[in-house]
């Protein structure tokens, strides 16, 4: 975990008791963890400015940056304690930070895993069984035919969110048997991994 000297200087601003009161610091931290987990900010930042908006803006950015970096590199709260200690934070501030950190770390990890590209992700399946009674070509019944729709989700940059698409295809009994057999094979593989000690 290596940080720019500049960010340490920015973090040091929190020790300026006149510009950054304890209430301001707490408010900023609550905002910080809330935003990083993807929730709206609980406090309006403009109310936390006090006399020095530029200081608060800088400190807020620095807190967000180090929190993101801590989670990214998987830091435990004791090494964070060391780091904040070196930045000259007092015990109350440190424990307030580590407390919030431990509570929100997993959620922020989730937000970080959500950065990247993936293949369309199957989330559900629909099926129905059809019997063909008559068609234009053949005057004989046929079936059962399975109409299968795999529901997939993928991020779409135009919408700016997930887009659900159905992959539709048809199976006859034999083909579905083959598909189920192969899927079960995969499931068995997972079960074997899960049951090993």
């Amino acid at each position: 975990m290596k940080f720019d000297e500049n960010i340490k200087k920015s973090l040091n601003l929190a020790n300026n008791a006149t510009a950054v009161t304890d209430a301001t610091f707490k408010g900023l931290l609550e905002n910080c963890f809330s935003v990083l987990t993807g929730l709206p900010e609980p406090h309006n930042v403009t109310n936390l400015y006090n006399s020095k908006p530029d200081l608060v803006k800088e400190l807020y950015a620095a807190l967000l940056s180090i929190t993101a970096e801590f989670v990214r590199s998987g830091q435990k709260s004791d090494s964070i304690r060391d780091f904040l200690n070196k930045c000259g934070y007092n015990e109350a501030k440190i424990s307030f930070y580590t407390d919030l950190y431990d509570r929100n770390r997993e959620e922020i990890e989730g937000s970080l895993i959500n950065v990247g590209s993936h293949l369309p992700h199957i989330t559900d399946v629909t099926w129905k069984i059809d019997y063909i009674i008559k068609s234009s070509c053949v005057d004989a019944s046929e079936g059962p035919l399975f109409r299968i729709g795999l529901q997939t989700e993928k991020y779409n940059s135009e919408i700016g969110g997930k887009k659900v698409e159905l992959v539709n295809f048809t199976c006859d009994s034999q083909e579905l048997q083959d598909l189920v057999y192969k899927l079960k094979d995969a499931v068995r593989h997972c079960q074997r991994i899960g049951s090993e000690h």
């Binding site: 905002n31 020095k52 997930k162 079960q191």
Partner: protein, 546 residues
């Protein structure tokens, strides 16, 4: 037997068989309990199976379930339905012995390296995902749920890495510009307002994700630039001039473009050549100028030399002057020698001092270096020790947890204690048996010595009386009586031994009777009869229904 029963019941309770606490012996087992015990054992041995735990009231289904359970054990349904203590003990012992050992799991020591922990985490994740109930992805925020770890069920919200450049005030730098400060205080928004919520994390973490590969304009610019550079090495100012029309005219015909490009190429080449020529001429000019100044300098020196020489020539032409000059030279030479000696006397101690000081400095340097090395090493060891400590404490925690679990079940120590008790009992029993054997052996020895004595006394009496019987009539009578006595005695002895044999037989028979009564055949027979009648009734009702 009690110990065995206790062990069996204890291991069954470990398998979550819910027996009453007062069940301490297999004598108290009824058919229901036996069924549940056997089902639990089979489930523990064969994973992913389930067997019925309770017997239904209907007789025929009872029979079916018990036969299906029994089929796996090579026993009959009667063993389960009409339970016999000894047989059930045999079956349960067989099952308990074959239960999968949990002890082997406990003995396995966890490692804390990167790969083992990773593998363990993977196992946990997969197991967790398999055990969780499925939920549709639309109810999950950001596509995952938390349940002792993160479980992803959809990556629909997973967006490519893309961020923006964040404007952050930096107040530690002295303000050179009041306007900048004003901008920071009043205008610049908070970082969270500078981009979308989803873009905040990448923007905070990475400063280099500003250029998106999707940006087509930028891509075109790059394409054109690299294309131009391949043709001729251009200066950047020219590149910009050329690039702008190029970009706009790209849509126009390819031929025109090509012609223009060729034209430019030719012109460029000409220009470059001319440039080169100009340069070479300039360098020639420079060289010429340089050589000219050199020549001038040499001329100057030559002139001054000529002047000097002509002057000295005039001086030397007089004899007196020459002598004076010679004296002066001598004097100055002597003075020089004196001065050098003086200098030497001053210089030597100073030099020595300098040397010693330098030595001191170098030795100090060396020491410092060593100290630094030591310090670094210490720091490193400190770090490694810290990480070690961390891992060890983790391991300790895990082991402690395990220990608690082990203590809770406490099976191992309980078993060993029980085994030790059993061994003590067996030893005691063994001693008693040995004592009894010794007693028997003594008695036998006594018997044999007594029989020998009897035999011997008879033969002695026989001989004595026989000798007298030749002469004496009474002795003859006595001899006859003696023979009779001997016969009678042997009959008595035989009777006594017979009595012993009969007694033994009696005891055997008594034991057999006891074992037969223990089987309670009459009661069981009654139960079987009752069940049979019930079955018949059921069949009748079924027949009526059909």
């Amino acid at each position: 037997m009690e110990e065995i029963d206790a062990i069996i019941i204890d291991s069954l309770k470990n398998l979550h068989c819910d027996f009453e606490d007062d069940v301490t012996s297999l004598k108290h087992f009824d058919a229901d309990m036996v069924v549940s015990a056997i089902s639990r054992c089979l489930e523990a041995m064969i994973p992913d199976t389930s067997f019925p735990k309770k017997l239904p009231p209907s007789m025929s289904i009872k029979l079916k379930i018990t036969s299906s359970l029994a089929a796996r054990d090579d026993i009959g349904y009667q063993t389960i339905l009409y339970c016999n203590e000894a047989e059930i003990r045999r079956v349960l012992m067989f099952l308990v012995e074959r239960l999968p050992r949990e002890a082997s799991k406990v003995a396995h020591v966890e490692q804390t390296g990167y790969v083992p922990t990773l593998v363990k985490e993977i196992e946990q994740k997969v197991r967790g995902s398999l055990q969780q109930v499925w939920v549709p992805s639309c109810v999950l925020r950001n596509g995952f749920r938390r349940n002792e770890g993160l479980f992803f069920h959809s990556f629909g919200n997973c967006r490519p890495l893309k961020g923006v450049k964040l404007q952050v005030p930096f107040t530690s730098r002295s303000y050179s510009d009041e306007a900048l400060k004003e901008y920071w205080v009043r205008n610049v928004p908070v970082v969270t307002k500078q981009c979308e919520v989803e873009e905040l994390l990448p923007s905070l973490l990475f400063k280099d994700c500003l250029i998106s590969s999707v940006d087509t304009d930028l891509r075109n610019c790059f394409k054109v630039a690299s294309h131009r550079e391949e043709i001729t090495p251009l200066k950047s100012s020219e590149l910009v001039q050329v690039k702008m029309p190029e970009v706009t005219e790209e849509s126009e015909s390819e031929q025109k473009l090509q012609a223009l490009v060729d034209d430019v190429k030719l012109k460029k080449e000409e220009c470059v050549e001319l440039d080169k020529k100009v340069k070479s001429y300039e360098s020639q000019l420079e060289q010429l100028a340089k050589s000219r100044t050199e020549e001038e300098e040499t001329l100057q020196t030559l002139l001054s030399q000529v002047n000097l020489k002509s002057k000295t020539l005039t001086v030397i032409s007089k004899e007196e002057n020459l002598q004076k000059l010679k004296n002066m030279i001598e004097a100055s030479r002597n003075k020089l020698v004196n001065l050098t000696e003086q200098w030497k006397s001053i210089q030597t101690p100073l030099l020595e001092e300098y040397k010693s000081l330098q030595n001191a400095i170098s030795s100090k340097d060396l020491k410092q270096q060593q100290e630094q090395d030591k310090f670094k090493k210490l720091e490193e060891t400190h770090k490694t020790l810290n990480t070690d400590l961390h891992e060890k404490t983790q391991l300790e925690d895990q082991l402690r947890k395990k220990l608690e679990q082990v203590n809770k079940t406490n099976t191992r120590s309980g078993y060993t204690r029980r085994i030790l008790e059993i061994i003590g009992n067996i030893k005691k029993q063994d001693e008693e048996i040995q004592k009894i054997l010794k007693d028997t052996r003594e008695v036998q020895r006594e018997i044999s010595s007594l029989t020998g004595q009897v035999d011997r006394s008879f033969t002695l009496a026989d001989e004595l009386i026989f000798r007298d019987a030749k002469h004496d009539e009474t002795a003859r009578k006595a001899y006859k009586l003696l023979a009779q006595l001997r016969d009678d005695c042997s009959v008595i002895i035989k009777a006594v031994t017979d009595l012993g044999a009969v007694e033994r037989e009696c005891r055997n028979l008594q034991e057999q009777i006891d074992s037969e009564t223990a089987k309670e055949s009459a009661v069981k027979l009654e139960r079987v009869n009752k069940d049979l009648q019930e079955m018949k009734k059921e069949t009748e009702t079924l027949l009526k229904q059909t």
